[in-house]
């Protein structure tokens, strides 16, 4: 009996070590790879500062909530290592829809947001949660569908006419239905087309862009996609671009601008504001803007930088249409 009791104590001890190691590894953002806190490495949570002692932010972690379209295209992984090396920090990129990314930031759970729905961004800023917004880059939306094109929208110069044609033909249409930037754009387009979509042909999937493209692909349906995700996924699916966005001469209404904003430290004092501003400064710098324009998938450029310009553009810092005259509204 005593032997077994000792065994039990040993087991309890081992369990306790695993659990304490887990706790002490909370700050080791830099070495996420050896997640094996159980082998004792979890104790060195403070060694992150060795990378750059002179910089005050070294060893810290920047939590960035962003959209699936920036993440799934691989852009962020491509450019972030440069920032991480420069400051000796870690960037935790969490890919959500635009709505969810803003909500996470609203709760104070992220330090910075990079999204693409100006209306939602403006609301976020007007409510005081976000500050120092910068225009970052753009690409465009395209209407994709099966090559057979049952609604006959191929080559249409107007996105709203194309949607009206789809609705009239009751052709299958897949909607993101997830409060993302793309979903917001799609709803704006339906509104501009004066059509209230509904019925068997209109499906809200509640999924990310890639999944929505997969579903549209399998059902031979139309959908609205950002060009970047479509290009990065084109080799996996049979859909084709039927209505082009402004990058290829399509209507301006299909433009897809991305913005980046810091979480207001006046609202959430735990937000890592210093690092967020360092990130905004870095990603809007000429060097990184250049890296964004050079990023290609399948030989095509996905994002077009727009942070660097000779001319002033004050609207990027404030909600659209804001002017000092209505500042007290």
């Amino acid at each position: 009996m005593p032997i077994q009791r000792r065994k039990f104590v040993a087991a309890v001890g081992a369990g306790a070590i695993v659990s304490t190691a887990g706790c002490s590894s909370t700050n080791d953002g830099g070495d996420g790879g050896d997640g094996g806190g159980g082998d004792g490495t979890g104790g060195n949570g403070t060694d992150g500062g060795s990378a750059a002692e002179s910089v005050g932010v070294a060893g810290e972690t920047l939590t960035l909530t962003t959209t699936t379209s920036t993440y799934d295209t691989g852009l962020l992984d491509e450019i972030h290592s440069d920032f991480e090396e420069m400051y000796g920090v870690t960037v935790d990129a969490v890919a959500q829809g635009t709505g969810a990314a803003l909500e996470t930031a609203r709760n104070g759970d992220s330090d910075i947001v990079m999204v693409h729905a100006r209306g939602l961004e403006d609301e976020f800023m007007r409510n005081g949660y976000g500050i120092n917004r910068r225009d970052l880059m753009f690409n465009d939306f395209v209407i994709v569908g099966p090559e057979s094109d049952p609604a006959g929208i191929q080559g249409m110069g107007s996105a709203t006419e194309a949607l009206t044609a789809i609705a009239d033909a009751q052709a299958q249409f897949v909607s993101r239905g997830d409060n993302s930037g793309t979903h917001t754009k799609e709803l704006n387009l339906w509104e501009a087309a004066g059509t209230d979509p509904g019925g068997d042909w209109y499906q809200e999937t509640g999924t990310g862009m890639g999944e929505a493209l997969n579903i549209a692909n399998q059902q031979g349906a139309y959908t609205l996609s950002d060009r970047g995700t479509f290009i990065s996924q084109r080799s996996e699916i049979d859909l084709t671009i039927l209505v082009q966005g402004p990058i290829e001469g399509g209507p301006e209404i299909l433009a897809n601008p991305y913005g980046v904003m810091a979480v207001n430290p006046g609202v959430h004092e735990n937000a890592n504001y210093d690092l967020a501003m360092a990130y905004i400064g870095w990603i809007t710098s000429p060097g990184v803007q250049n890296a964004i324009s050079e990023y290609q998938v399948n030989g095509e450029q996905l994002f077009f930088p727009e942070a660097v310009s000779e001319d002033p553009d004050f609207q990027q810092y404030v909600p659209e249409g804001w002017s000092s005259d209505d500042s007290d509204s």
């Binding site: 695993v18 887990g22 909370t26 996420g32 790879g33 094996g36 159980g38 082998d39 104070g108």
Partner: protein, 248 residues
């Protein structure tokens, strides 16, 4: 004594976590697969070890005593087995979010938050199955231990020894539940890797979800096969230790 192998094996398995750059022809970045396996094992094994430390004593205590409302407690535990993982994820999210009661600990998007949600998910099945195993131990064994002068703890240990196969099954069921769920770890963990492709909070399940989202079904299937192999391995190890426990 199924707790011991599970807890002590964690480091050993994690050390071998460095994976190949390509697996069955699918290309992954250096260390990517190894790191998501390591995170999966670290999170799920820790959660199950903690759950076991709570569940087995609780199951023994409930199983060996008679009290009013025992049936109610049992049905609460059984209901817990059916908790949807997304709901657990949401509850843990509210708890660890900056606005929540644990917000000051800054646990959101960390492995520790994932351990919390898997702990909540794994505890009910481990408790319920252990309870069934403990209840199934012959009363004569208990009485014999008591007659021989055993303390309450001695009696409990004898009962645990008799019920060890059932308890091992309970722990494996808990591990299976923890390692295979995707809903809660996605919400509280955020599916994060660093820019060089080393997982921080990405597990096999959330990696599969990410691949499927991007239409890379073959890659998703390969990761699925890795997950199944991992569960098989853990099962085999636990069963083997259980047998050796009998021989010793």
């Amino acid at each position: 004594m199924p707790i011991e192998p599970v807890a002590q094996l964690a480091p050993a398995l994690l050390d071998s976590g460095a994976g190949p750059a390509s697996l069955f022809g699918a290309s992954f970045r250096e260390g990517y697969v190894g790191s998501i396996i390591a995170v999966s094992l670290y999170v799920s094994l820790t959660a199950v070890a903690l759950s076991t430390l709570v569940s087995v004593p609780a199951a023994v205590a409930i199983g060996l005593t008679e009290f009013p409302g025992k049936g109610f407690v049992k049905s609460v535990v059984n209901t817990g087995m059916g908790f949807p993982s997304v709901v657990v994820g949401l509850v843990v999210l509210f708890a660890v979010s900056n606005q929540g009661p644990l917000g000051s600990l800054e646990l959101i998007f960390t492995r520790e938050a994932m351990i919390m949600s898997q702990f909540v998910l794994a505890t009910p099945p481990i408790t319920a199955i252990s309870l069934a195993a403990v209840s199934g131990v012959d009363d004569g064994v208990r009485d014999a231990a008591r007659v021989l002068g055993g303390t309450r703890i001695d009696v409990a240990l004898v009962v645990i020894k008799e019920a060890r196969y059932g308890i091992a099954t309970a722990v494996l069921a808990g591990f299976g539940r923890a390692v295979s769920e995707v809903g809660s770890v996605l919400i509280v963990g955020g599916n994060i890797t660093s820019a060089d492709g080393i997982s921080k909070t990405r597990t096999l399940t959330t990696a599969i979800q990410l691949e499927a989202r991007q239409g890379r079904y073959e890659t998703a299937m390969i990761l699925g096969a890795v997950l199944v192999a991992l569960v098989l391995t853990v099962n085999a190890v636990v069963v083997r230790f259980g047998d050796r426990g009998v021989a010793g």
